[in-house]
């Protein structure tokens, strides 16, 4: 024995301690991985020993390795062993390891409950402290529930050291176990006035964090905090309090008014930048919330802006950055006060730090006005030229476009200038944003009619110099603008100065090196151009010229016919044939220009991007219904070869006279127009026409632009936006002079005594008249478009659970559970109904406790029920009435097999419910020779904790069934909603009678307290069966099974919200695996969706994420993976019991697949 001890201690001498390990790793730089795996082996040996010191040493080393990225989850149990060591030295290491490596998925974590409780109540404050610190890192909902009461006690510990830790950790507990907030809050509030400043600041911290998430519940604390704010000198605390006020003021404007003064005082007096920054931010928030009410705070805004200017001017980059950040907040509501600091912000654009430049760019966006847009953009353009990195340059480019195009080009007074800016931007090398520029060019050219002529001239110049843009190195980016250029030149070819020249440019052989989709646009627009040239030539009587153009087309088009791109090839060959045909006609001296240009007649109007979505579905139109029954597979296969022949046949007799063709075309057009006019499903284009033909009336009402010719439309030479800036200045100067003259005159008139309104001498935005009277064609929307629906708010906010009214008096039932002697096993909370012998023995005890809790809950519920019931009753009555009438109408229905029969009455019997999928969710409840009961249980969408049970009763006898009554035995957890005045034991009448062979449906509402477990309720249906021979009283017993799935409501969830939910980490996790599954994944998902009320969030191959919500707001997330013959389901849910029960149910469903 002694020898063994000695041997042990000698061994220990050879053990590596942490320092040795670190040194070792540093000495084995080449084969680090190998060395560490060797160390891990040693550690595993050490952990097997009984000596706690050795174990602690091993765990300490593991903690280090964990930081280096090695997995140590296998040692979780050993960590717990070390945590429970009696010596502080080891305990400390154990808790450290746990806090670094434990998370909610660590399954042994539940074993720690008792150890932690023991440590919390340890006489040594350092034991307690270390336990609290550790717990703050790995607290789970279970731990929070079990330990909440212990921690709450510690909040009143004699030592401030413990008090402050306990107060701080309460915040983590609240997050995990929101029920603890109300019982703990009074004590937390008390701590705001704790004699120890550390505890006080901890309490401020916690309440501030809570209030930031759900401010409205903390408004009543405002006076207390106000006092703290004016008395405290601790900057850390002040910052928190001020932040808290920032959250409260939007809810209580009066508070804001009161705050302004102390905050401005602080701004003036403090030397701490962090506090100053916080004050400024809060003042901004306050002013934003006040701005609607009273605009009389210009002094405060001015102060903030001044202080921010000082920050921005500071040499410290951090302050500069934050100054700009805060400035952008002011900008939103008080743009004028920021705009005067434009110089400073433009200066920041030259900063070395990219993040500062980006912030400044953000600010610029809001600072532009009609007056300064050109100047700002000019400045940005010089930056574009200077910028070194492509990312920053691209950012600049997008910002320029953003700034100019914001609010429907509101600030652009001269679109020629804008087009030239866009053209200048195309000279950027290697930008990714070619498509963005192209989109702008198209948008402007289409929507600003007055600019088309100029745009076309610029675009033709671009096309002419296409070789510059499309050189092979930069193919990907900028050549996109050629797409726009080609389209604009084609579509608005009537404005072209030298169409022939442009045509040639577009038919250059070099064009074939462009990407396919651009070539396709080229080909298409070449024809438009060609059409307009033909027309010109024919009108001028130059037949030869026209023929020459045709010849050019015939010569050049074949290069596109050879294109590898299908689209290009198809269009080109089609057009080549057309042109050849025209050539023939021209040879016969037939005038063709009219007809060719008729191909492209008509006006294109811009359509709003959301227009299609906004078209309301006409009443009675079912978009999912088949118009024609789909053809069977075999038929469609037969069809295919025939279609090939068909096509070939058609190709031959292609030489029809084109006149007939055109006539036919026009006729068809007319017919289609008629048809569209009469077709209610066609999106009609009023008020402005979607597409009308040149000669049809209606184009007139599109605002035609008056061009103010004081500005020359074309600036000689290549467009230089700078020239416009100069011109613009001159123009404005002229305008101003004129205006001044006018004003003077007016002044003279008004000279005597009359009040002048607002003729301030400064030039305001409104004074600047645009260079061109430009009407921007608004984007089309369908008539009676639905009002825009805002994006749904994120339902997955993890802090939502803490939105709890704290002023309500505390009910008994809300007291925190006090657990005295519990072993780790039971800490798992409500168990599944698994018949394990050991567990059974414990059960009665547990049940008793639950029983008591339930009883209390029940009483509370009753009170609530009383208040609710009148409303309830009405609602139900209405429903019943409806059912009765429905029942009468449908009383001659033929019953059939259970699944199908059940499906039909649903549609009739439950008109208010949402549509059910074709498969039936009704399951058999009970049956005898008289009656068959099937039922469906669904969570109620309106009320929390309620489910609606729809019971279909089918009379299968030859008697008439009447006097039907349903009596259900309530459990503690589930209660049937009964008409007012009836007792628990009374039956609830079924609101209809059933003649032989008829079925009908009745709905009942149940209130469920806890939904984490499945429920079974016993019930009896009693009725009188009456036939010719007489009447008998009959009974049918049934058991209502409320599965956990029936508490779920199919709720769609977007993948980003889903990801956020998973990231939030508030969910506990569990998983199942089912083998031997043959069903296809698609069907499997459908089954889960249908039977368990989930919706698919995302599906990738044989893996899908699904989401659902319980009627009490638990989130349930699933990851379903299909292996070869198996399916695994990983679930995450805000309640672990609910999750495990759900998974069990799912397992049962899947096992049947």
């Amino acid at each position: 024995m002694a020898l063994k001890m000695v041997k042990g201690s000698i061994d220990r001498m050879f053990d590596k301690n942490l320092q040795d390990l670190v040194r070792g790793i540093r000495n084995h730089k080449e084969d680090e991985a190998k060395y560490i795996s060797q160390c891990i082996d040693e550690i595993k040996q050490e952990l097997k020993q009984d000596n706690i010191a050795v174990k602690a040493n091993a765990v300490c080393k593991l903690t280090y390795l964990q930081m280096l990225g090695y997995d140590i989850s296998w040692a979780a149990f050993n960590i717990i062993e070390v945590m429970s060591a009696s010596k502080f030295t080891f305990k400390r290491i154990g808790y450290l390891a746990a806090s670094q490596s434990f998370h909610e998925g660590t399954d042994v974590i539940m074993l720690t409950t008792n150890q932690i409780r023991k440590d919390l109540s340890s006489p040594s404050q350092y034991d307690t402290g270390v336990a609290l610190t550790g717990l703050s890192c790995f607290v789970t909902p279970d731990l929070a529930r079990d330990l909440a009461n212990d921690i709450m006690t510690l909040m009143s510990h004699t030592k401030p050291y413990i008090r402050k830790k306990a107060v701080l950790i309460m915040y983590k507990v609240f997050l995990k176990y929101p029920e603890s907030l109300r019982p703990a809050f009074p004590r937390l509030k008390e701590k705001l006035e704790d004699p120890d400043p550390g505890v006080q600041s901890a309490a401020v911290n916690v309440i501030c964090e809570l209030a930031r998430r759900n401010p409205k519940n903390y408004l009543s604390l405002a006076p207390l905090f106000f006092k703290l704010m004016t008395s405290s000198t601790n900057n850390w605390v002040l910052i928190k309090i001020i932040k808290l006020f920032g959250a409260l003021t939007p809810l209580e404007p009066r508070l804001g008014k009161k705050l302004i003064e102390p905050l401005t005082n602080l701004i003036h007096s403090t030397s701490a930048m962090s506090l100053l920054y916080e004050c400024v931010n809060t003042v901004i928030a306050v002013l934003i919330s006040l701005s609607s009410g009273m605009p009389n705070h210009s002094a405060s805004i001015q102060l903030c802006v001044q202080k921010l200017r000082i920050l921005i001017e500071d040499s410290d980059q951090n302050l500069k950055y934050l100054g700009l950040l805060a400035m952008s907040k002011i900008l939103k509501t008080h743009p004028k006060s920021v705009q005067s600091h434009k110089d400073l912000i433009l200066q920041c654009l030259d900063d070395k730090d990219e993040s500062i430049r980006l912030r400044a760019l953000d600010l610029l966006y809001g600072m532009v006005s009609k007056k300064n847009l050109m100047e700002i953009v000019k400045k940005l353009m010089t930056h574009v030229d200077k910028a070194e990195g492509t990312t920053y340059r691209d950012e600049l480019l997008t910002k320029i476009i953003d700034i100019c195009s914001q609010s429907n080009y509101q600030y652009i007074t001269n679109f020629e200038w804008y087009i030239s800016i866009l053209v200048e931007l195309t000279r950027l090398e290697g930008t990714r944003h070619g498509h963005l520029i192209a989109a702008q060019m198209l948008d402007v050219a289409i929507r600003v009619k007055a600019i088309r002529k100029f745009a076309v001239s610029q675009m033709s110049a671009l096309l002419d110099s296409a070789h510059l843009l499309a050189s092979s190195t930069q193919r990907n980016g900028i050549c996109e603008v050629l797409y726009a250029a080609a389209w604009i030149c084609g579509e608005f070819s009537e404005h072209l100065q030298e169409p022939h020249h442009t045509l040639e440019a577009m038919l250059r052989p070099k064009v074939t090196t462009l990407p396919g989709h651009i070539q396709a646009v080229y080909v298409q627009n070449v024809v438009k151009l060609y059409a307009s040239i033909l027309q010109q030539k024919e009108q001028a009587g130059e037949a030869e010229g026209a023929q020459a153009v045709t010849q050019l087309m015939v010569d050049r088009l074949p290069q596109f016919v050879q294109s590898a791109d299908l689209e290009v090839q198809e269009r080109a060959s089609c057009i080549l044939q057309l042109v050849k045909h025209i050539q023939k006609l021209q040879a016969k001296d037939v005038p063709v220009a009219e007809e060719v240009s008729a191909l492209f007649a008509g006006e294109l109007n811009p359509v709003a991007p959301k227009a299609q979505k906004k078209v309301p579905v006409p009443e009675g139109l079912d978009l999912d219904a088949w118009i024609n029954e789909p053809l069977s597979d075999s038929e469609s296969e037969d069809e295919r070869p025939r279609a090939v022949f068909h096509e070939e046949e058609q190709r031959r007799p292609k030489h029809r006279p084109s006149e007939a063709d055109e006539e036919e075309l026009a006729r068809r057009r007319e017919a289609r127009k008629q048809e569209q006019a009469n077709n209610p499903f066609y999106i009609k284009s009023s008020p402005s026409p979607q597409k009308r033909y040149q000669d049809t009336p209606g184009v007139e009402h599109i605002p035609v632009v008056q061009i103010d010719l004081s500005v020359p439309l074309k600036v000689p030479g290549l467009p230089m936006s700078d020239q416009y800036v100069k011109l613009e200045e001159e123009r404005r100067h002229r305008q101003k002079l004129e205006k001044d003259k006018r004003r003077k005159k007016r002044k003279e008139k008004e000279k005597k005594g009359k009040r002048r309104h607002s003729s301030l001498p400064t030039e305001s935005d409104e004074d600047i008249a645009p260079a061109q009277q430009v009407d921007i064609v608004t984007e089309e929307m369908p008539e009676n478009a639905l009002p825009s629906d805002e994006d749904d708010k994120d339902p997955n906010d993890p802090y939502r659970a803490l939105d709890i009214d704290l002023d309500k008096p505390l009910a008994d039932s809300e007291k925190l559970p006090i657990q005295k002697h519990r072993n780790a096993e039971t800490s798992k909370s409500p168990e599944k109904d698994v018949p394990v012998v050991e567990k059974k023995r414990k059960k009665p005890k547990k049940k008793e406790k639950k029983h008591k809790e339930k009883e209390r809950d029940k009483e509370k519920k009753k009170e609530k029920e009383k208040k609710k019931s009148p409303k309830h009753k009405k609602k139900k009555h209405r429903k019943e009435k409806e059912e009765r009438t429905k029942g009468k109408k449908k009383s001659k229905k033929q019953p059939s097999g259970s699944e199908e029969a059940a499906g039909k009455p649903v549609q009739n019997g439950a008109p208010e419910e949402e549509q059910l999928p074709p498969e039936s969710s009704y399951s058999l409840l009970a049956e005898n020779s008289y009656v068959k009961m099937t039922c469906d249980i669904r969570g109620s969408l309106q009320e929390d904790s309620q489910v609606t049970v729809s019971i279909v009763l089918e009379n299968r006898s030859s008697s008439i069934l009447k006097g039907m009554e349903l009596s259900v035995l309530d459990s503690l957890n589930a209660r049937m909603a009964r008409p007012q005045g009836s007792s628990v034991h009374d039956g609830v009448p079924v609101p209809f009678q059933l003649p032989p062979g008829v079925s009908n449906e009745a709905q009942y509402v149940f209130t469920i307290q806890s939904i984490v477990m499945a429920q079974k309720l016993k019930g009896t249906l009693s009725f009188i069966a009456k036939n010719d021979e007489g009447a008998t009283h009959e009974k049918l017993d049934f058991r209502l099974h409320f599965s956990c799935s029936s508490y779920l409501i199919t709720t769609p969830c977007y993948s980003d919200a889903f990801a956020k939910l998973l990231e939030s980490g508030d969910l506990s996790m569990s998983s199942i695996k089912v083998d031997g599954i043959q069903m296809s994944f698609q069907n499997l998902l459908a089954k889960i969706c249908f039977h368990h009320h989930f919706s698919v969030v995302e599906r990738v191959d044989s893996c899908a994420s699904m989401y659902s919500r319980s009627i009490q707001g638990h989130h349930v997330c699933l990851l379903v993976k299909k292996g070869e013959n198996s399916v695994s389901v990983d679930g995450k849910c805000s309640d672990s019991t609910l999750l495990s029960n759900l998974l069990e149910e799912m397992k049962a469903t899947l096992a049947k697949c």
Binding site: Q19, V22, C60, T63, Y64, M67, L68, G69, K87, F88, T89, R92, L96, S99, Q100, H103, E104, G105, P123, S124, Y126, G129, V130, L132, T133, S136, C137, F138, Y161, K164, K165, L168, I169, Y171, G198, S201, A202, N205, V206, E209, N234, W236, I239, K243, G246, A247, S274, Y277, E278, Q317, N318, Y321, L322, K352, D353, E354, S355, I356, E1063, G1065
Partner: protein, 152 residues
Amino acid sequence: MQFMLLFSRQGKLRLQKWYVPLSDKEKKKITRELVQTVLARKPKMCSFLEWRDLKIVYKRYASLYFCCAIEDQDNELITLEIIHRYVELLDKYFGSVCELDIIFNFEKAYFILDEFLLGGEVQETSKKNVLKAIEQADLLQESPKKTLSPIF
């Protein structure tokens, strides 16, 4: 505060403290991403960056980067202050701290951090109190028997 990372200029992690529960995989991913981003920044740049929906505040002391992730509404400057305060604490405790001190006594560095911050919130703003608590706990560690004696 959501988490705090300490890493060297070579990108080696020296300390990590997570105040939000995340899986190891996620932690590793975040660490890798942040170390890369922060190391790529030029010395003249400001100490803040926006990352996912969080704000990252970092500061370099000698060869070590201290990097904190805070939420949108949190105050960047006070976070810098927290970092600085922690460095001061380490400095006081180790006596002009260097990277090696933290490597070889990493558990001590954690203990100090735990006395200073709890659950991502500042627990004790007084340097003196933090160090006092650490020293007393260390005392307890070195002579555990002594502390047991008062019971008898």
